[in-house]
Symmetry: D2
Subunit: 374 residues, 4 copies
């Protein structure tokens, strides 16, 4: 990719939680990774002009605009970072790809599966690098988990039991928002997509699912008074993977006390892994059997689990959430500059979304649904 | 119940792991509980005469017999304790009930659902006390969990996520046995019944299930060489409870490293519970929200969780597995002497077994199965 | 030892927490261990006659007496079990040894170091079996810890960091009792003796100590109003072991929230052990270094850690506090019948007490104290 | 402080582990904190000219120099960041203070206590802002611990039990280095200073100590063959605090398996705190007693523990080690721009070092040492 003056021009659309996280990561990545091109925070777009200007100042962007189209068309921009509400992902991404930009998009990929498919196809057609922000996959200890799971070290993988539960919608007074809007897909799309991304990363494609889902709080406050909620507050499914493994996957945003329960247990014929995102620098690992010295080991992230060493040379010091985003951005820049594809790209994000869509359909139809039938 | 000379005559059939556990419990219960009647270890029956005599001597039974019929018909016997292979539960229990004895039977209740139903009906008709050995329900901290779950303290229960996984069949060289015999029902019956018993105890009846199950090791060694395995090594299901809660339940005897993973997470609208049998004197408890002091509490079993205090007046000292059996026996004796019914009785054990049978049928039929349709 | 009619006559003095625990253990041991002689619960002595009779009935003793001298002199008694307040340990033990009985005594051995020394000497002179109830040493996983620590498996032991903290005296309204009586020795004697017994068991003799200790609540309620407290509520010391290891030992009965924090970390030149009594069926174990698979292992008690298998054939099911007492009694009976000595005997209990006495003297003198100088 | 053109010119001396961490933090702080002045990475100094240039390029410094004197004298520099070997701290800091710069220095403050004192005095005389890199104090959950400890929420603090153990010198083949050089002060200065800084932060000044320390590996390889080691590999002490609390403090770099065991237990008259740096986004908290719902709570860092929210709006997502450095730098910049003093400053770092020096002297003299006597 040719870029202006040895720098990679970054255009960020959106300046909320994830917008800030993208900006932090683009800023940090040049110091922590030895990249051929240094990202330059060029343009920040946000609907509200004053807010855009203020965010640009605070986050260190050179310019601010209020229309994302101006950003996408800007020749100084090499990468378009999309952190808007979900329904805007598609128009921005398609325009960016058409303009020849690399696209870095927050999850879930799109508001509907049809949109996601269209985006994946556009990405493939464009030949441009795309990357979707399933940041928990970038955790070095998850990299180790994948190495253990895919190398045969714990035998053939036969079971996966995962969950992503939090409590931010526990309060029945939590109001309607983009999260509870029908196009959002409810908790299975919002959180379930994370645990599905992990399941696919560690075990492979999910072939079919049988799900149940419920709306615990049937109405939520809105400006117009109590409004019915049309999406699920929690969902649970049995999954069958392409490799023959089976297991369960759950998602909930109404689990009191859980702040970041993105957990899994992965079972092979000779060993097991156990993980919780609430202690994401640790992995519980069991293999084989040693008479009298038999037990799960607690592995800690460190220089042996790259790219931890880019952040700190000493083990046990721990990476934080924003560091995962920095690794994600490093992968993005490496793909752009190296002519490789990034992962998870639009295609993989579409597959994740398709799996969730199958779960939602299964919950409604009360039957097993093959993921590929969607 | 009238008994001979102020003592409760105990007849034990079987002298394996569970036979010994019953004997330990009948021996310990008079010291730990203030019961109106003291169990007397009267007769032990085991097929092999020499083995029966040796077990009787070691476990402190007054006499040994090799035919359980002799035990059941013995007028000195008030309680028949059944710890034989599953297929013998029915004939012994029916004979014992007919002879007017109380029956204390190990789980699962019977080799087939039809047998279990027949036993539950016979128990009801007899009016005798029955109790089935789902000993993990007798844990004082599980009693606390039930109190919290049913009192409304954490709101309405909306989700349950449970598992019972161990690793004793992980080795493909583990031979065929009663466990892998088709009438055994595989791991869902063997271990799954424990987690289903907990689910029912804490949340209530399961209405319908959708399940998947797999045999990881398709053959196992037998005296006649490798023999196909017809039961499941692990199974997973989505469950819908009568009260509207949903969730997942898993069972596995091929999970490397797990020795006693009988775990659950129980979610209410205002709080949560988390438990693992590997640390069964602890319960993680979350309720409400206290700004800045928000988190799961680790509750420890102690005198506040009766009947812990019968064993030890100081908290944190911990009960062991055999103590759970002692509590079970105390409940049995209290029911017999108090004219109350014990729990879980044959009827409840039948309901547990029916739930498992529904899961097995669901896995084969690849569809949701209503538990009451069986 | 010759005993009456193939049975070992047990005489129990005291019927409180520890009296009951002894009775439970003598009752359970015949079933769980294959011993040449079966303990028979013969006589229970308690000052109050009615209380003695009631305890004897409940605990299954054949007879009750109100004077321990009658018990000690009884020819049916082979073993005298002492669970009285500390100041009575000496007269009872000396009388019992003189009467040719084996003596099983609760810790600490005596009210004063001089008394403890006299008891150890009397025991040696008598040639009788003695055993002191440092029951936490009987934990199978502590047996494993000792094997690991003493076999060289983790190299040479260089450091030990231990504590025994509970919270039963946290409340300033907790009244004066035998615990706060000056002859009791305060928390260092009451709880500190447990962690010192572990330190000696795992590392060896402590050569010298430098300690600090404090009375947090300077007065406590008594029948006569607030009374000054003359013993320590918590104490901390630096220790130097005979083998060159160094470390710290703490004891506290005023640590809010701690129910059974009998914890240690043991450091060798090639590995480490970490333990807490609040999860006493687990041992954290680290040895060597395996690049990329480096971490502490959680070992669970099971049949590989004898005598766990005497209680349960399956790992991970867990022993309870009372099971530790049963193991202790098994060791006692094996020593008596096998002509071996039991451990920890009066001599070892004296050494433990001497170490505590050195700590108390060090705290007062504000200087290092050699344990052997006492 | 007047600075050139609205920016704060940063001069970094050293480009190792800590040099990089400083650069990361100065880069990240403008995005994460709303500061009146933005740090500008102006000059990096490293002895080796090529290395300096390369580090400047990678870390984003405008210029590189090989002589720190050039950096200190540079008018574009407002803050001198010192991450060199310990013996260079003094000359650089004194020159920087004399040149009117703010000084940000890594711990320990100096190679000797006399040097540390001279630096503290120079800092006071200069009126300039100084800050020493005890970064673990900047952890939001440690901020919460301090709030709980100092507000009276858990009563009066009566005990502290702390340790900092790692395993990077466990291998006897680990060679001599600046760490094992006598001026380094051994493990008590290297790691012990961290746990002492925490003890002072949470409980207050330490008045006197009694210590023991040992060199486990008496020689270590050097270019000239095996060389005797003159510093300690681990040390342990009893401490008495000015407020009357007592407890123990340990430090070790030879504890196999420990990567970041910076742990403490803090005991008040009404509650307790437990912390380990290996899970530094968590704090175990106990207060009061709630009958039947009594237990330690696990608090997680989140927006309620500022300035966590500057990094992430959602709780449970976790900060990493480098984020602690960013908070440290924010405090530095706030102090410089706000005319306040930063903490821990040179004076506090001197007090920490004095406490360690007292421990070292105590270990040699085998007696209690008052910290103020040094």
């Amino acid at each position: 990719m040719e870029t202006k003056s040895g720098r990679l021009g970054i255009g960020l659309v959106g300046s909320g939680f994830m917008g800030r996280a993208h900006a932090f990561a683009f800023n940090a990545v040049s110091q922590t990774f030895d990249l051929p091109l240094k990202p330059a925070l060029a343009v920040l777009a946000d609907q509200n002009e004053a807010q855009a200007a203020e965010a640009a100042r605070r986050l260190g962007f050179a310019r601010a605009v209020s229309d994302w189209r101006a950003l996408v068309g800007d020749p100084e921009i090499d990468v378009v970072s999309i952190t808007t509400p979900n329904h805007l992902h598609k128009p921005i991404a398609l325009a960016a790809l058409e303009a020849g930009k690399a696209v870095y998009c927050e999850k879930p990929l799109a508001a509907t599966l049809a949109d996601a498919k269209q985006m994946a196809e556009a990405a493939r057609a464009s030949g441009r690098v795309t990357l979707v922000g399933f940041n928990y996959l970038k955790n070095p200890i998850i990299g180790l988990a994948r190495e253990i799971a895919t190398s045969g070290e714990i035998g053939e993988i036969v079971a996966f039991r995962g969950i992503h539960a939090e409590d931010y919608m526990t309060d029945p007074a939590a109001p309607h928002s983009f999260r509870t809007h029908p196009v959002g897909g409810g908790v299975l799309m919002d959180l379930g997509s994370h645990i599905v991304s992990l399941a696919r990363y560690l075990v492979g494609p999910i072939q079919e699912v049988s799900a149940a889902a419920e709306t615990v709080h049937k109405t939520r406050p809105s400006a117009d008074g109590p409004r019915p909620v049309e999406v699920d507050d929690h969902g649970h499914l049995v999954a069958r993977f392409a490799n023959g493994a089976i297991g369960t996957i759950s998602a909930s945003w109404v689990t009191p006390g859980r702040k970041m329960q993105l957990d899994f247990e992965l079972v092979g014929t000779r060993g097991s892994l156990v993980f919780t995102q609430e202690r994401f620098n640790e992995l519980k690992f069991y293999v084989g059997e040693q008479k009298g010295r038999d037990g799960f080991k607690t592995l800690l992230a460190g220089p042996d689990t790259p790219p931890y060493g880019n952040f700190c040379p000493a083990p046990g010091h721990q990476l934080g959430f924003n560091d995962l985003k920095t690794i994600e951005v490093a992968h993005l820049v490496e793909a752009i500059t190296g002519g490789k594809s990034a992962s998870p790209d639009f295609q993989e994000a579409y597959e994740i979304q398709r799996t969730i869509a199958a779960a939602l359909r299964s919950a409604r139809a009360r039957t097993w649904i093959g993921v590929e039938t969607l």
